[in-house]
Amino acid sequence: MSDIQVDTLRKEFSSDGGPIVAVNDVSFTVEDGEFVCIVGPSGCGKTTLLRCIAGLERPTSGSITLAGEEVTDIPPQNRNLAFVFQDITLYPHMKVWENISYPLKLDGVDADTRYERAQEVADTIQIGELLDMYPGDLSGGQQQRVAIGRSIIRSPRAYLLDEPMSDLDAKLKKEMRVELQRIQQQVGGTMVYVTHDQEEAMTLSDRMIVMDDGEIQQFGSPQQVYHEPNNVFVAQFIGSPEINLLSATCRDDTGGTVTVDDTGWNIETGIASQGVPENVTFGFRPRHTNVEPVEDLDGLGGEVALVEAVGDENILYIDTEVGEIRAVVDIERTPIEEGDTVAVDVERSYLFDGATGTTVAHSTRRGDQPDDQVEA
C-alpha cells in the first residue's frame, strides 16, 4: 500500500483545432490507505487523470510518485496498480477463477495456487460459487464483483476505479457501494475512484476531489466540500437538489443583508458585509430553508409550481420573480400543495464573488454553534 503524489500533472491531447488540455497542472496527494473520489462532470478530465496515474496515458508534463517512487515514465505493467474499468473488462474466454487470478498467472504462479487464491478472494467478495462459470453467464453486479476480485488478488500498491458502477442499476449500485466500502476496510488499500455521481462520491470517500475543466476545484472531505465549497461550481455540483443561486448586491452599510437583483428583497445572510464585493451571487441550499404558506408575499418566495415527493421529503419547485428556486420540506411538518404561495426563509447562506465565482463567505446554520461545523 502506498500514497500517491501527483505534481503539476498536465495532459494535452492533440486535435485538429490545436491541443486540448484535459488535465491542467494538477497537484494533490492521496494518503496511504485513503479512499479518494474524483468527481466532476463529463469531460472534466477526471478519467484522464486516473489513466495517467495508471500509466495508460502518458502525461505531457508533471510527475506521479507512488510510495516515494517516481513512476511517470514506468509502463503500466510495472506499476503494480489495480484498475477497474467502467465497462467491466472480463476476458470472455476465461472462467471466473481464471479472470480473477489472471494477474497471478502473469507472475508465474501455478494453477493450483491460483485456484486457491481465487477461491479466497471470491469468498471475500461473495461470489465463491461462481468460480467455474464464464463471465457471459453472470449478471452485471456479479461481473463487477469479479472485476473487483481481479483487482484485489495481487495486493497492488493502490486501486484505481474508473466509474465502475455506472453500468449498474440504482439498487445494485447502492449494494455495491456498501460492498466496496466493506472490501476497502478489509484490504485497507489506497483507492482512487472516479465518478460523475456526486452522491456516490459523498458516501464513499474519505476525501474527494472535485474537478472541472481539467482543474481541481476543491480537495477535501465530503462534509467540507458540501458545507464549505470553494466556489460556485463546487456548490452547484455537490448536493442534491442543486443549490439555489441568485445574483444580488451587497453594500457595506446594510449590515449583513443582500438585495436580490431586480427585486426589492433584502435577505438576512448572517455574514458581515465587510470585504464583500458589491456584486455577489447569493446561494442557499434547498435543505437550508424554511418554507411557510403565506397570503401576501413580501420577500423571497413565490408560487409552488411542482411538488416532487421523495419518500419522507418533498422537493418544492417554486416560481419566483427571479426564476425557479428549489426547497426541501419535511412531508409531515409542512403540508404544501401545488399552487400555494409560499415564503422562503433562508437558514444558511453562501456568498460568491459575482465576477469570479469564488466563495466570499458563508454563514453558519442559524442556531448551530460554529463548533458544529466541520473543521477546515
Binding site: 495508471a54 509502463p75 505493467q77 510495472n78 474499468f85 473488462t89 476476458y91 489472471y102
Partner: protein, 347 residues
C-alpha cells in the same frame, strides 16, 4: 391487374374468406403457404444449382466407380471401387512417402488399363503440405500484420490497402508476376540474392524449391485477406481489454498471446476455411505458372493430377476418383465450420 396467385387461390379454394394472422398455419390452404407463394423465386435457382452442382457431384461419383477410359461411353452396369484401391495402393509406403520416408511406392494395374497407374500419394502429400504450410503461414503473417496495423501506426489505411491489394488480383496475374520475380536472370529475387554473391538460383523449375515458391506466392496473395479478417476482429475487442491486461502486469507479447489472440478464435476459423479452400483450388495458379497441368512431381497437387489423368491420359474414371477425393477433403474443411455455425444458430 390481379395477383395471379390470388386468382389461382380463389379458383381452388372453396371460399374467399381469408384466415386471420393468428390462425395456425396448418389451416391455411396449401397455395397460401409462404414457401409455395415464393416458389417462382426459389425453385428455378434451386433446380439449376441442384442439377449442375450437386447433380454433377453425384454423377461424378458414379463415374469414378466405372472403368471409363479412352474413347467411348462410360458403362454404368459394372460399378466397383477398384479406382479407389488404385489411388491408395501400397498404403504403408505411400503414406510414409508423404513425409519423405518409406520405400518405393508401387502403383496398381486396374482392369481398364494394361499399364501401371500411379497412386495419388505424391500429389496428396503435396496438396496437404501446401494446404497446411500455406494456411499456417498466411494466418500467422496476417495476424502479425493486423496487430501491427492495429497499433495506431501512421498511414494505417495506406498499409491496409497495400496488403489487401494482391487479394484482388487473379491467380493468373499472380502466377505470371511471380514467374517474373523468380526468373533466374531478370527476376528481382535473384538480383537481390546476387547482391550477396548468391545465385543465380533456378527457383521455378527446381524440384526442391518449387512447392515453396508456389506457397510463397500464394502467401503473398492471401495474407492480406487474413489480415483484414483479423483486423476486423481486433477492432471488435474493447480497448479496455488491452489496458486491463497491461495494468494486470502483462507485457505486450503476453497481452496478445493470453488475452487478445484467444478472443480471435472465430476470426481464425473463418479465415482458415477460406484460405484452405483456396489452397485446394490452387490449380489455376499452377496452370498459369507452369503453362499447363504438368508442374512436375514435386509441385503436383491433386487438382493438377486430376486434370492430367482425365484430359491427358483419358483415364476419365480415375480422374473422377481423384475429384471425389478432393471433394471429400474440401468437405472435411468446410463441414466442421458449417456445423459450428449451425450449432450457434447462425445458419
Amino acid at each position: 391487374m390481379r395477383n395471379p396467385i390470388a386468382t389461382l387461390r380463389n379458383r381452388w379454394s372453396d371460399s374467399d374468406a381469408r384466415t386471420d394472422g393468428g390462425e395456425p398455419a396448418s389451416e391455411r390452404s396449401f397455395l397460401d403457404r409462404d414457401s409455395v407463394r415464393s416458389a417462382p423465386f426459389w425453385v428455378p435457382p434451386f433446380l439449376l444449382v441442384g442439377l449442375f452442382v450437386y447433380g454433377a457431384v453425384v454423377w461424378n461419383f458414379f463415374l469414378s466407380l466405372t472403368d471409363f477410359s479412352g474413347i467411348g461411353e462410360p458403362d454404368y452396369s459394372d460399378l466397383d471401387v477398384e479406382n479407389y484401391f488404385v489411388a491408395f495402393s501400397d498404403p504403408v509406403d505411400g503414406f510414409l512417402s508423404m513425409f519423405g520416408m518409406g520405400g518405393e511406392v508401387s502403383g496398381g494395374t486396374p482392369a481398364w488399363s494394361d499399364l501401371t497407374v500411379d497412386p495419388v500419394w505424391n500429389s496428396l502429400g503435396n496438396t496437404l503440405a501446401l494446404m497446411i504450410g500455406f494456411s499456417a503461414v498466411c494466418l500467422a503473417l496476417g495476424l502479425l500484420l493486423a496487430i501491427l496495423v492495429d497499433r495506431g501506426i501512421r498511414f494505417e489505411n495506406t498499409f491496409r490497402t497495400i496488403y489487401l491489394l494482391p487479394m484482388s488480383l487473379s491467380f493468373v496475374v499472380t502466377a505470371k508476376f511471380w514467374l517474373y520475380m523468380y526468373n533466374p536472370q531478370t527476376g528481382l529475387i535473384n538480383i537481390a540474392l546476387g547482391v550477396f554473391g548468391i545465385g543465380p538460383v533456378q527457383i521455378v523449375q527446381n524440384p526442391d524449391l518449387k512447392l515453396g515458391a508456389v506457397a510463397f506466392a500464394l502467401i503473398w496473395q492471401f495474407s492480406g485477406y487474413a489480415m483484414i479478417v483479423y483486423l476486423a476482429a481486433l477492432r471488435g475487442i474493447p480497448s479496455s481489454h488491452f489496458e486491463a491486461a497491461r495494468v494486470d502486469g502483462a507485457s505486450t507479447i503476453k497481452m496478445y498471446w493470453r488475452v487478445i489472440v484467444p478472443q480471435l478464435r472465430t476470426a481464425t476459423v473463418s479465415a482458415l476455411v477460406v484460405i484452405t479452400v483456396f489452397a485446394l483450388k490452387a490449380f489455376d495458379f499452377l496452370f498459369s505458372m507452369y503453362g499447363g497441368y504438368q508442374p512436375g512431381p514435386s509441385a503436383d497437387i491433386l487438382a493438377t493430377r486430376m486434370v492430367r489423368e482425365a484430359y491427358a491420359n483419358q483415364n476419365w474414371a480415375y480422374g473422377s476418383t481423384i475429384a471425389v477425393i478432393l471433394f471429400v477433403m474440401a468437405l472435411c474443411i468446410v463441414a466442421p465450420y458449417i456445423y459450428s455455425q449451425y450449432r450457434r444458430g447462425e445458419l
